[in-house]
């Protein structure tokens, strides 16, 4: 029998769909810390984040038969978490007035350079820690997914449900906005 550690999320999800509910514990083990870290960037209180992450797991279990196992499980669960955190922020009226997102209207060239991004990852993480609250939520989330959660562009596109080209252009703009915010704090 294959050890659980080597089995992919998608296979585990498929086995849960087929009735092995106990395997859901593995999913919780794999994602509890990641989703809590993700939530911490949206909400300030740990208890609130824990409640929402627990809700995310419950929802994930309830909806798992709707998951297409040929797709990536992590994108799917992050999408559920994204919705849960956004809903919570909306409920508490902490969501700033968002500007209309014109980037989703037309196509953009996808420019993904993992080597260059690897070189700048430490800088961006450091800047993010200090200037996170100074940039718009759209930019904040996409940078978190890219530089803290190490997601690929196509996974981010699935989570945020936006075109791939929009992910690319939004990351470029977010990095510029972050740089500007950081320079304002450290002239």
């Amino acid at each position: 029998m294959e050890p659980l550690e080597t089995i992919t999320d998608e296979v585990i999800a498929s086995r849960i769909q087929n009735g092995e509910s106990a395997l859901f514990g593995v999913i919780i083990e794999r994602y509890e810390q990641k989703l809590t870290r993700y939530g911490r960037k949206f909400l300030p209180r740990d208890e609130q984040i824990e409640d929402i992450v627990q809700d995310v797991f419950i929802k994930t279990y309830q909806y798992i038969k709707g998951f297409d196992t040929t797709r990536k499980f992590s994108s799917w669960i992050y999408r559920i978490a994204h919705n849960a955190f956004i809903n919570e922020i909306k409920k508490s009226h902490r969501l700033p007035q968002l500007m209309p997102d014109f980037d989703i209207l037309v196509s953009h060239t996808v420019y993904e350079d993992p080597a260059a991004e690897k070189r700048e990852i430490a800088d961006i993480r450091a800047q993010l820690e200090q200037s996170l609250d100074k940039i718009s939520p759209n930019y904040k989330e996409i940078l978190l997914l890219r530089y803290f959660e190490d997601m690929e562009y196509k996974d981010i596109a699935e989570i945020l449900q936006i075109p791939l080209g929009t992910v690319s252009v939004r990351i470029q703009r977010a990095k510029q906005a972050l740089k500007d915010a950081y320079l304002k704090l450290h002239p």
């Binding site: 824990e50 409640d51 419950i58 279990y61 309830q62 038969k65 709707g66």
Partner: protein
């Protein structure tokens, strides 16, 4: 949410699953959800197509197309009579359809303007095909034959001739006097109404003959339509003007 500090999140969630407080939604639920969305999207799309075909029908049936070629006043009148309310509901349907489409991968994977353009092109294609086969006219004819009120009178309203008080008259020449041209207003389903029309200066009455079909635009005062502009028109082609008729003038 109740939290027990003595247990981990994993234990709490698994306990809820084991005690059947939380259960998986059956596959059927997701299939039904998708089917419902598809049906809803189809209904909205059909509604939108109906609204669009109604707009085309209404322009055609009211014989207002010649107004587009009659200068600023003609354009102003055309837009005054345009069914803006129907267009508004049509827009609402398109936005709702686009919103539903965004729930599917196909919808959000592509830029919004591209999917919108594809939707609009397909929809307008269908609208022109439907308009070409004159379904709306058949509905109207059926309504008149059976005395059925069609869609709260919307179809009759579209086909009702414009009141000459607004200065617009798709008419047929009935008689020519030294002072006026007596015209009968084109009313396919109503009682024809006689209107006295004073032609613009420079138009010789000798160029006009009894039986000519003229689309006249002007000002209606004291029972007389003082024409500013006129065009030959053909009611049979539902509003298409005949540019070779040679009676078009712009003072």
């Amino acid at each position: 949410m109740t939290t027990d500090p003595l247990t981990t999140m994993q234990q709490r969630v698994l306990a809820e699953i084991e005690s059947h407080q939380v259960s998986m939604r059956p596959k059927f639920y997701f299939v039904l959800h998708t089917i419902t969305l598809v049906i809803l999207a189809t209904i909205i799309l059909l509604l939108s197509i109906s609204f669009s075909t109604y707009i085309l029908f209404s322009i055609r049936a009211s014989h207002h197309t010649p107004l587009l070629f009659m200068g600023g006043r003609g354009l102003l009148l055309f837009f005054t009579f345009f069914p803006w309310g129907v267009l508004f509901f049509d827009m609402v349907c398109i936005v709702a359809f686009q919103h539903i489409l965004q729930k599917f991968r196909l919808g959000y994977k592509n830029p919004l303007l591209y999917t919108l353009a594809i939707v609009l092109v397909c929809m307008l294609g269908l609208v022109f095909v439907i308009d070409h086969v004159r379904i709306e006219d058949q509905i109207l004819r059926h309504g008149h034959q059976t005395n059925m009120p069609l869609l709260f009178g919307a179809y009759e309203g579209a086909h009702a001739p414009t009141n000459p008080d607004y200065g617009v008259c798709p008419c047929i020449v009935k008689a020519i006097t030294p002072d006026f041209v007596i015209m009968v207003q084109h009313m396919p389903y109503g009682r024809p109404r006689d209107i006295s029309v004073l032609l613009p200066p420079g138009i010789a009455t000798s160029t006009i003959h009894v039986g000519d079909k003229l689309f006249v635009v002007g000002k209606f005062r004291n029972g007389v339509l003082y024409a500013n502009d006129q065009q030959a028109w053909d009611p049979e082609s539902d509003g298409d003007t005949d540019s070779t008729a040679g009676t078009s003038t712009t003072p």
